[in-house]
Point group: C2
Chain length 453, copies 2
């Protein structure tokens, strides 16, 4: 390790803990302004310029802009943008926390607090890396900008509007994404993209009221309608049957397949992690689990609700049924296109009565894998984690607002962070390992140097 990384990290430990204590739960609008103000203060205290940005005509929490200029020995022509968020998930279920969710607590080399892994420690890690270079004679090797938003945990509903309005301010050459970390084999994962999402409510009503089930010989019911509508969308081999659905997919490039081929995939670890009981849905499909996770769209029933759900028997013919449908998107798909295909499918199969409402839509994004920035981030990581332990992913299986950064700023984006497989983001006892935190700082130190060259 660089000799003074841990020293800087410990010097700024109180700052990290002060930041963690702020209960910036975006879903509940708690301490959002105080937290944004603290972010701006940290940036200014460390020698940067900060600005708290607002959108006209909304109640949206502010975005914090930060800027640090390259030092006299640095490259003033190159600018790296860090995307982070200062909001956190709600702390429920609070009973399952071993210590107070908003009191940072160190145990066995781990730091526990809501938001520490997602994503507050990553912001402070970036700040530590900047401080490392500020203390060197040459100063920062490049310009650095920050964008910290306060709505990532509720789906970033205003990130597009912020980027559209402030595109010039955030102009940069490349972007480090907010998250990243170590998998169960202790390999650091650097993801170059995200899947998108289209999320829908399906609802069907077959009668004005619930009806005694003795009428079932004649009167249809909403639970059957919805079951039949959903079943029409997927066959026994788990292929999606929506007409034209797979046609939207842009065939991955040879380079993307090469990168995929180098990605490890441990079937048994995934099965054990979640206690998966049945076969994988890819077992009868003509592509591998890795291909499915990275390159293929999904169609998930995330919720079913109709009629009676309590214990025992209730003889009811449900008048209403609802489902939640979660569709993950890869390049070529848009939430709008998926909505149109779903509507056409339902109509064509006799389910005009099934209402479809889109609740959320995020575009997929994948950085051009030939971008030299990926090489820069990877090389810096290999210095810290070792060559065998750095995994580049064309994109993650999850979703984030990365597309907006590509669209408005035209930057390559790679994620890197200080989490590990057991960090429990969004769950009780969220934590990071301090050794991962120090490594994350060091990765950013090397990255700034390599990027500035």
């Amino acid at each position: 390790m660089l000799e003074n990384v841990k020293q800087i990290a410990e010097k700024n430990r109180a700052l990290l803990e002060e930041y963690l204590r702020l209960e910036s739960v975006s879903a509940q609008g708690r301490q959002m302004i105080e937290t944004a103000e603290m972010v701006a203060r940290i940036i200014e205290d460390k020698g940067g310029q900060a600005e708290i940005l607002h959108l006209a005509d909304t109640e949206a929490p502010p975005v914090v802009y930060g800027e640090f200029l390259a030092g006299p020995g640095g490259n003033a022509e190159k600018t790296l943008l860090f995307y982070n968020h200062y909001d956190v998930q709600p702390e429920d279920p609070i009973d399952e926390w071993e210590t107070d969710p908003f009191v940072p607590t160190e145990r066995d080399g781990k730091l526990y607090c809501r938001g520490v892994s997602d994503n507050k420690a990553n912001f402070i890690a970036r700040i530590n890396a900047i401080e490392y270079w500020s203390e060197q004679a040459g100063g920062l090797p490049c310009n650095v900008k920050f964008l910290l938003e306060g709505e990532e945990e509720i789906g970033s509903p205003h990130i597009n509007a912020y980027l559209a309005q402030y595109a010039e301010k955030f102009a940069a050459d490349a972007c480090i994404w907010e998250s990243g970390g170590k998998d169960a084999a202790e390999r650091i994962e650097l993801s170059c993209g995200v899947k998108g999402i289209a999320y829908f409510d399906l609802a069907v009503r077959t009668a004005a009221t619930d009806i005694h089930s003795s009428n079932a010989a004649v009167i249809d019911n909403a639970a059957w309608r919805l079951t039949q509508a959903l079943a029409s969308m997927r066959n026994a081999d788990n292929e999606i049957l929506i007409d034209g659905f797979y046609d939207l997919m842009i065939e991955p490039t040879d380079l993307e397949y090469d990168v995929l081929a180098k990605m490890p995939f441990d079937r048994q670890v995934l099965r054990d992690t979640y206690g998966v009981k049945g076969p994988f849905i890819t077992d009868n499909l003509p592509y591998s689990e890795k291909e499915a996770l990275i390159f293929y769209p999904t169609l998930t029933i995330s919720g079913l609700l109709s009629g009676y759900g309590g214990s025992g028997a209730k003889t009811v013919l449900p008048a209403q049924a609802k489902a939640k449908l979660d569709v993950r998107l890869v390049p070529g798909y848009s939430p709008e296109a998926v909505e149109q295909l779903l509507r056409q499918h339902l109509d064509k199969h006799g389910f005009k009565d099934v209402e479809l409402t889109r609740l959320a839509g995020v575009m997929p994004f994948r950085t051009d894998l030939s971008s030299s920035f990926i090489e820069v981030v990877t090389r810096a990581a290999q210095k810290i984690y070792g060559g065998e332990s750095v995994v580049v992913m064309p994109n993650s299986a999850g979703t984030g607002p990365m597309y907006s950064f590509g669209q408005y700023l035209n930057v390559p984006v790679v994620g890197s962070g200080t989490e590990y497989y057991n960090s429990a983001p969004h769950a009780p006892n969220e934590h990071i390992r301090l050794t991962d935190y120090y490594q994350g700082i060091e990765h950013m130190i090397h990255l700034l140097a390599d990027f500035g060259q």
Copy 2:
């Protein structure tokens, strides 16, 4: 109307209201013993013998036995059994009652109270008819027995055991069932049977915990498994696809088809009553709505529950899914046979992981339609309601514990009562019309005379 029917009814009105005030909610075990004791007291006060029967080794509410002997002018060789129940449904939702659910209230010729239509007024109507004959010189035209149970509203779990233990005590030549009433065209319906029921929980678990839906490309989810399992049981024309399911059905006799042919069926009334939006499920089936309602089994999803059911989006891959399945049975079916077919179907179609648990089972029952008792009940009804307004049904579309009476007592069973289409049993503002009540008493008066001949 017979001249003193209304006079007797009004004389016993206070008795009816006292009986109605007792909150004999079997689901909640409220005032069950007091109510059984009141039933016994009423029988004895009116000149009968009563006994409160218990089952050894259970906490089951008692069954009340009652007996009135034929008068000197009556036929002591013939015994009519009245089956009634003294328990009622819970009064929820209490806010929707216009008056206190357990305070009998007369408005516009209607008597409102929980349990008045189902089934307390019918018991007192029978008592009034007995009192009518007791005041005549010849006394009762036949012997009368009563069986009042306290668990009808929770599925009569102990009626079999009571009938098995006390079969000799309840021996009779025929049975009048607890319920019956007027349809939307003001025709009195006399039903000679019931459908049975087999009610199941279906449950599937695909993983130890709910999983982030980004894993959906590889890991299956319980909501999909259950949707596919259910969809395999019914096709787009709403035919049940369970192997051998329709083979169990005993083809109705010519006589049963003749009786069915005389039954009215008003498609539009049924549609309007419940605000039915789509086609009837029989529209593409090779049998009529009437045949379906009376002669065919059903397969109903009464509940679906999996994953997230709240507002907005939750990106979850549900680990568990549950459904309630309500199967109505006609002669030839038993709950056990249906359970076996369902299990075989699930296994054969690759759904061994879907657990099937039977929650309730009631056998179907249909009185032999050539029984002279049906003619006796019908003739008595025609005197009161007019020939065109009496409808005999081979069985109702609903379910009740009638099979046990056929099995242990070997009696023909016909239902008759004082309800009407808008009585709202099991619902707020349950009521009867007093004119229907007087007619119901008169029907029983004529029936006792005709039966005793």
